[in-house]
């Protein structure tokens, strides 16, 4: 008696492989490209050094993690917005609308970005006041 040999499928169907690979790569591309880029543009003129400060007529805003001051006078956060608007509304030229921002070293970015946002929406141009590092040799 002759046994019939069963027919096995020896080759896997590969015709759809390209389509599958294509769809997989499109999927990974879409997943990988979701990086946040929305935000706020800011023009920051070069920072003022301490010695130039006396000559400038600009408003000075001081920032600490909990307080905000305008020309040395402390304000609550909700008062700051209206006060800076009032001050900047009186300024006519662009040079007058420069607001010198002096932040304490421990001010978090989130607070800084919120305060500079208020200043810019009020028409101010933020410039940074950075402390210059000086090395003093003691003999």
């Amino acid at each position: 008696m002759k046994l019939r040999r069963p027919k096995y499928l020896v080759e896997t169907p590969t015709s759809a492989m390209n389509d599958i690979a294509f769809i997989l790569i499109v999927f990974f591309l879409v997943c990988a490209s979701v990086e946040p880029e929305d935000g706020r543009s800011q023009v920051i003129p070069r920072s003022e050094k301490n010695e130039d400060r006396q000559t400038s007529q600009s408003t000075e805003v001081g920032l600490t993690p909990a307080t905000v001051t305008i020309d040395g006078t402390p304000y609550r956060l909700n008062e700051f917005q209206s006060r800076i608007r009032q001050i900047l509304a009186q300024k006519k030229t662009e040079a007058e609308r420069v607001v010198v921002l002096k932040s304490q070293a421990d001010v978090p970015y989130e607070h800084w970005i919120a305060m500079t946002g208020i200043i810019e929406r009020a028409g101010g141009i933020v410039t940074l006041l950075l402390e210059e590092e000086q090395t003093v040799n003691l003999n």
Binding site: N18, Q81, L128
Partner: protein
């Protein structure tokens, strides 16, 4: 029309695009954006500065000393015209001024146009 090779061509093109995209990959950096309102998309993106949770500064995904940031940005931006010198600035929300202000100063010194990357505030009226 012979369309048998179309899949292979598309596959190779996509690999090429993926490789290009990986060159500026910053997915390994841990930072959480601060919140803001009235957010806009950047006009272009020429460089990206990240300050992560550990206060480490990166330029295009590569760690960099803040003292060298201005020079490296200048080299990167070259003679690009104004309006085309956007530097994406991604800072972890809790990083303090001691670390991010010198980086802002460096961007300004290099003639870069700063674009703070923020996330929309869940309740915009709560943001001052």
């Amino acid at each position: 029309m012979p369309s048998m090779a179309m899949g292979d061509i598309a596959f190779l093109l996509l690999i090429f695009i993926v490789l290009l995209a990986r060159a500026r990959d910053e997915s390994h950096l841990v930072w959480q954006p601060a919140t803001g309102t009235e957010l806009v998309k950047p006009a272009n993106r020429n460089a990206s500065v990240v300050i992560d949770k550990q206060n480490v500064t990166y330029l295009n995904g590569r760690p960099v000393q803040v003292e060298n940031l201005a020079a490296e940005l200048e080299a990167l931006l070259g003679d690009l015209p104004a309006g085309g010198r956007t530097v994406l600035f991604k800072v972890h929300k809790d990083v303090i001024a001691e670390f991010f202000e010198p980086a802002i100063e460096a961007v300004s010194e290099a003639g870069g146009e700063l674009h703070h990357v923020l996330e929309p505030a869940p309740n915009p009226s709560a943001v001052p």
